[in-house]
């Protein structure tokens, strides 16, 4: 596949602080992340001619607040994976000549709720009629429902599910910015309080404040920036069901599968070429679904694969090396942080740096297995 010149991530940064940041609104977090990313690229806001962010506060608000007059606008808001889709859409726009330097921003006061949007689910909407009446209360009560089916059909044990959190804490221990860094055991996880059986507190992601941003441009400018270029080698996106009850098969994510296969095919690589992996981990079962959907392991094998140590420090497939949504941070739309860690690993600047990965794959989730974007990032162009 020869689609030249391709695009690069020329700038990438998070907000100065993540975790509990009550002194900044959602919009201010977007703005700080944007400035940090633009500076990381050695650029100014005047160099930006395209803007992408999620529906709230939206690209119009973010662009206006920063004094950007865009010639390309993307407000795709399909949950926490949206930023991966923004990168994909930005790549297409740059290659079409619609924009030259695109800014993708995320900011969310998920914990402090300063200037944050309230999630609305009208009682006349399909989820309002056919799920909310049964006492759902956000992702902990819906995203989690498929897990028991998977456990019965594929023999995943409670201990293996708990081990996902243990493995990721081992990465977080190496990361000064991670919210939780103290080592934990399977017993610690299983004795933490039950949030929604079979999920315990330590199998559920954090809720934090923070943000991040990216600067995307054409790969023909790869030598023009202070940091090494991160090439976007392949991208994919898909969606499945707007309600968890309508997910086709509770033991696998069709959105992960379709987006992942598209991204790997575009990059022209196989899973054996992947040296670093991020799989959006809102809950402990999600990395299991991600590993299997992209074909890193066969169906039903991911729980044992993680429990055998393959994804933790020293393992052969380093995964969620920032500590993930379970231990690093999770503002609500975590996808931006997964991309940031992929970029850091390719640039050799991660807190828990793995041995020079040439290719990093980032698997995003939106809603409750509702949407997915996947990025293949690399040191070298395709």
């Amino acid at each position: 596949m020869s689609r030249t010149p391709g695009v690069i991530i020329a700038g990438a940064a998070e907000t100065n602080e993540i975790g509990r940041v009550p002194g900044q609104s959602t919009l201010a977090l977007h703005m700080e992340a944007a400035l940090n990313a633009v500076r990381d690229a050695g650029l100014t806001l005047q160099d930006i001619d395209g803007i992408a962010t999620v529906t709230t506060p939206g690209p119009v608000q973010v662009a206006h607040a920063l004094g950007i007059t865009p010639g390309w606008v993307d407000g795709t808001g399909v949950g926490g994976t949206s930023f991966l889709l923004h990168v994909r859409h930005a790549a297409a726009a740059i290659q079409a000549g619609y924009a030259r330097t695109i800014l993708v921003t995320h900011g969310e006061s998920g914990r402090s709720r300063v200037g944050a949007a309230r999630m609305q689910q009208p009682p006349s909407s399909p989820p309002g009629q056919f799920e909310a009446p049964y006492g759902t209360l956000g992702p902990t009560t819906t995203f989690t429902i498929p897990a028991l089916r998977y456990m019965k059909d594929y023999g995943l044990t409670h201990e293996q599910l708990a081990y996902v959190a243990v493995a990721q804490r081992r990465w977080a221990a190496k990361n000064p910015r991670a919210a939780f860094r103290d080592p934990i055991t399977v017993d610690d996880v299983l004795s933490s309080r039950i949030v929604a059986y079979p999920f315990h507190l330590l199998e559920c992601c954090l809720v934090t404040d923070g943000g991040g941003a990216l600067v995307i441009t054409s790969a023909d400018r790869a030598g023009d920036f202070p940091k090494p270029p991160v090439h976007v080698l392949g991208t994919g996106e898909s969606s499945e069901a707007p309600m968890i009850s309508q997910m086709a098969d509770f033991t696998e994510s069709q959105a992960f599968r379709r987006a992942g296969r598209a991204a790997l095919a575009e990059a022209g690589i196989g899973v054996g070429d992947v040296g670093h992996l991020m799989v959006y981990d809102a809950f402990a079962h999600v990395p299991i679904y991600g590993l299997e959907a992209l074909g890193f392991v066969a169906k039903g094998e991911a729980g044992a694969f993680i429990a055998d140590g393959n994804t933790e420090p020293g393992g052969r497939l380093p995964m969620n090396t920032n500590g993930g949504g379970l231990s690093y941070t999770h503002t609500g739309m975590y996808g931006m942080f997964a991309i940031q860690e992929g970029v850091r690993q390719i640039r050799d600047e991660a807190a828990a740096q793995v041995e020079g990965p040439d290719v990093s794959v980032v698997v995003g989730n939106g809603g409750m297995f509702a949407t997915s974007g996947v990025l293949v990032l690399g040191r070298q162009p395709r």
Partner: protein
């Protein structure tokens, strides 16, 4: 058709569905003690949730029919952080059931303790209905259990 939640109704604190023109036949069925689904008259595929186009083949030649009310337990969680209106109840299952006709739907499980020991995946269930604001809400109960419903 109701256009707002009625605060005076028996369980007003719990979320009350508000039908749309496309879903009204479903809720009319519930009020009559029947679980009504749609199916495509071109490809015969039954489906849920209610909508005017067949998701299998794209046809808009669709019709309503009365389902058996039989189902099996596909998956669930037991929620320990209650939603609005559920505060006075013990931890409760939010379940997805596999209807005998093929589609799946979310529900609550009644007539059985909501514990991991009592809720066994693939157990046989049947529909029952509970008043919720202006509508009757379909719930499921073990197939052998006595009680309300048909």
């Amino acid at each position: 058709m109701p256009d707002s939640q009625q605060p005076g109704s028996r369980q007003a604190a719990k979320a009350v569905p508000v039908p749309t023109p496309e879903t009204q036949p479903f809720w009319d069925g519930c009020a009559a003690g029947e679980l009504r689904l749609q199916r495509c008259t071109d490809c015969a595929q039954p489906y849920f949730y209610p909508r005017p186009v067949c998701p299998a083949c794209g046809s808009d030649n669709v019709e309503w029919f009365t389902a058996s009310g039989k189902a099996t337990l596909y998956s669930y969680v037991i929620n320990h952080r209650p939603a609005r209106g559920f505060e006075d109840e013990p931890p409760y299952a939010i379940a997805v059931v596999q209807l005998a006709e093929g589609p799946r739907m979310m529900t609550n499980l009644v007539g059985v303790p909501n514990t991991p020991e009592d809720l066994i995946l693939d157990m046989a269930l049947r529909v029952t209905f509970e008043e919720r604001g202006d509508v009757m809400l379909p719930l499921f109960t073990p197939a052998g259990a006595a009680g309300m419903g048909q």
